[in-house]
């Protein structure tokens, strides 16, 4: 498409053309109306003047007959810029007057007519006039006319004004439209060019802003914000895939080595069996990582899982506390559960339970130093209401996490140096955070002075608790429920 063609096809240019047409028609109507009204006004005045003149002359005639009339007319015609007069006989032979030639049919007509005339004895061009013929008693005809060249001149001026104004209107309109269209086109072109550059992979580019705050600027701003978000997500994705590559390849390498070990010729059947068992163990670990990653991805995508219901987080705290209590005791850790009255949340009980289990597992693994004092060998689970939020808290009295590391540690696969040597995938916190986000809540890491407090904060549900019962007996076994 040529540059001009592109210009003509812009919305702005088409709009300008449409407005131009509307204004041109408007201007034509206004000027035409003015012209027509002026002509009508002038014609009326001339008609009245002529009628008055005729009445006067008719009186002269009735007073002094044709002689007096001729005298008066001759006197009048000698005045400069006199009206037109002509007196003829019944047969149309001129008797007196200043009009040289008059078309025959005009004389026979008695209404007000527009005629073209020439003054007698002059070689002037023919003029136009309004005239009226009056039949005098006795058969003489009296023509009184009035030059309308002034009116014609006015009409000419108006017509010229109309043409000129239309000319300028069209010219300025077209140029103005083209100018505005070109400006808009230039900005749109700049935006498209940036978008094309971004599409080819340069995500650092941003749309240009004119700084006028107009609608194009606002659009460009929104697109830029969107690009920021996409860039951040892409960066996150890249980091995650790097981490996945590392954290999945490590167990895969071990798995492969175990398989090679089992196949080696000099391996005894017992060693082979041990190697195969290790392979299964390693692949179970890999499956676990995969499942956690899938769940995080799903939770982050924000698709609400099925199986959402209203449930009591206090009950979950008791369940998880009970599940881990035996393990805690084996580690010499006191696991305490403290809860408010029922704290209802709408969500997926399974996911929230898993998140809390992960946090408890973390606390038992990393929150209790080997050489801790008896009083510090403690992990607390709490479920409580805090304003409009339901909070599940897991607190330990261990080394805690440096404030600088707190945001980072929620990321996938991030494991702080002192925990690298212990088993774990580095996904527990990310999963808990993803579950919190999925429910419209958040995960917070706080200082327990000493130790770490992890808080899952979820929006409260306003549903009333179904029944208040001891947590141990709150649910019948699954099989019982299915049978009913």
């Amino acid at each position: 498409m040529t540059a001009l063609g592109k210009l003509f096809r812009t919305t702005v240019f088409k709009l300008s053309l449409a407005y131009l047409c509307i204004f041109a028609i408007g201007a034509g109507l206004v000027l035409g109306g003015v012209g027509w009204n002026v002509k009508k006004l002038i014609d009326e005045q001339i008609g009245q003047t002529i009628d008055a003149d005729i009445r006067g002359l008719a009186e002269q005639y009735s007073e002094g007959g044709i002689r007096q009339l001729v005298e008066v007319i001759q006197r009048r015609t000698r005045r400069p810029s006199a009206s037109l007069y002509l007196v003829t006989t019944y047969a149309g032979v001129p008797v007196a007057g200043n009009v040289a030639a008059l078309p025959e049919q005009v004389v026979g007509n008695t209404g007000l007519v527009e005629v073209s005339y020439q003054l007698s004895g002059e070689e002037t061009p023919r003029h136009r006039a309004l005239a009226r013929v009056f039949v005098l008693p006795g058969g003489f005809r009296l023509l009184v006319g009035h030059d309308i060249e002034d009116r014609e001149t006015l009409r000419g001026i108006l017509a010229r004004a109309l043409v000129t104004s239309l000319f300028w209107l069209v010219l300025i309109g077209t140029l103005g439209g083209a100018f505005v269209a070109r400006r808009v086109l230039k900005r749109v072109d700049a935006i498209s060019e940036s978008v094309r550059a971004i599409m080819t992979g340069d995500l650092t580019k941003r749309l240009p802003l004119a700084g006028t705050g107009d609608e194009l600027d606002r659009l460009a701003e929104s697109v830029n914000v969107m690009l920021e978000r996409i860039t951040a997500l892409m960066a996150g994705l890249k980091e995650v895939s790097d981490n996945i590559a590392h954290d999945l390849k490590t167990p895969l390498t071990r798995l492969r080595m175990d398989a090679e070990q089992a196949l080696r010729a000099r391996t005894s059947p017992d060693e082979q069996r041990a190697a195969l068992e290790k392979i299964i163990e390693e692949s179970d670990g890999l499956i676990r990582i995969f499942n956690a990653l899938l769940m995080i991805a799903r939770a982050e995508a924000g698709t609400q899982p099925e199986g959402m219901s209203d449930f009591d987080v206090s009950e979950i705290a008791h369940d998880v506390g009970e599940l881990y209590e035996a393990l805690a005791e084996e580690h010499g850790v006191t696991l305490t559960v403290s809860t408010d009255e029922p704290v209802m949340v709408h969500g997926n009980r399974e996911l929230v339970g898993q998140a809390l289990a992960n946090l408890t597992d973390n606390a038992l693994k990393y929150g209790v130093p080997e050489n801790a004092e008896v009083g510090d060998r403690a992990v607390t689970l709490e479920a409580r209401r805090n304003g409009e939020a339901a909070e599940l808290v897991v607190a330990d009295r261990g080394a805690g996490i440096n404030p600088a590391d707190r945001a980072r540690v929620i990321d996938r696969f991030v494991r702080l140096e002192n925990s690298r040597t212990r088993p774990g995938s580095g996904l527990g916190l990310s999963l808990a955070a993803a579950v919190a986000h999925l429910h419209g809540g958040e995960l917070r890491l706080e200082d327990n002075e000493p130790g770490l407090r992890v808080v899952i904060s979820l929006p409260l549900s306003h549903a009333a608790p179904l029944m208040q019962s001891s947590p141990q007996l709150a649910r019948a076994p699954l099989e019982l429920r299915k049978a009913s």
């Binding site: 499956i287 599940l323 035996a326 393990l327």
Partner: protein, 230 residues
Amino acid sequence: MKAMRILVIEDDVEAADYLVKAFREEGHVADHAADGLDGYAAARDSDYDVLVVDRMLPKMDGLTLIAGLRAQKIETPVLILSALGQVDDRVKGLRAGGDDYLPKPYAFSELLARVEVLARRKSFGSGEETHYRVGDLELDRLSHKLTRSGKEILVQPREFRLLEYLMKHAGQVVTRTMLLENVWDYHFDPQTNVIDVHISRLRAKIDKGRDMPLLHTVRGAGYMIRDSAR
């Protein structure tokens, strides 16, 4: 355990062959159907103890197949295998009429334990007994009383339910995930072997100092309560 008739409806031939072979090695009778329509016809026309159904099948998907059977009043227990393995996938599967759900990949020991539990439920019905007895260990659900050789043993409520589930399936292997699902009603993977700790506590209460242990660990699979004297 008497031989079960198992129908495996799975389109992955390699996986199906492995399953059929493994079930036969365990002394069961296993057949294979490679797509949804064949599987539906076989399940409708012959009497199986358990159906093992893949979630995604050619010609007719697993959930439609189960819903079709249930509509025909065929109540053969169904275990769903699924590669999806998400929380709501389990919900959908059970809602369609499945009785149990196992995400892929799974351990055969896990599958076998679950299939055996389902088959037994079919032959004995799902009705609950009020009194269980294994050897000289007796559990009464009504009075919440646990005795061994007539002597009462005090356990926590959750331990009571753990033992109740084990005794209900006495002589059968019960896996850790089955215990987590049925005693705690959670389906996630607890990472650490929390269940093992609960079992060893329970074992200390019922078997400690006895010549005849009842609670056994089945290596690589799970646990079983069994009267080894018989």
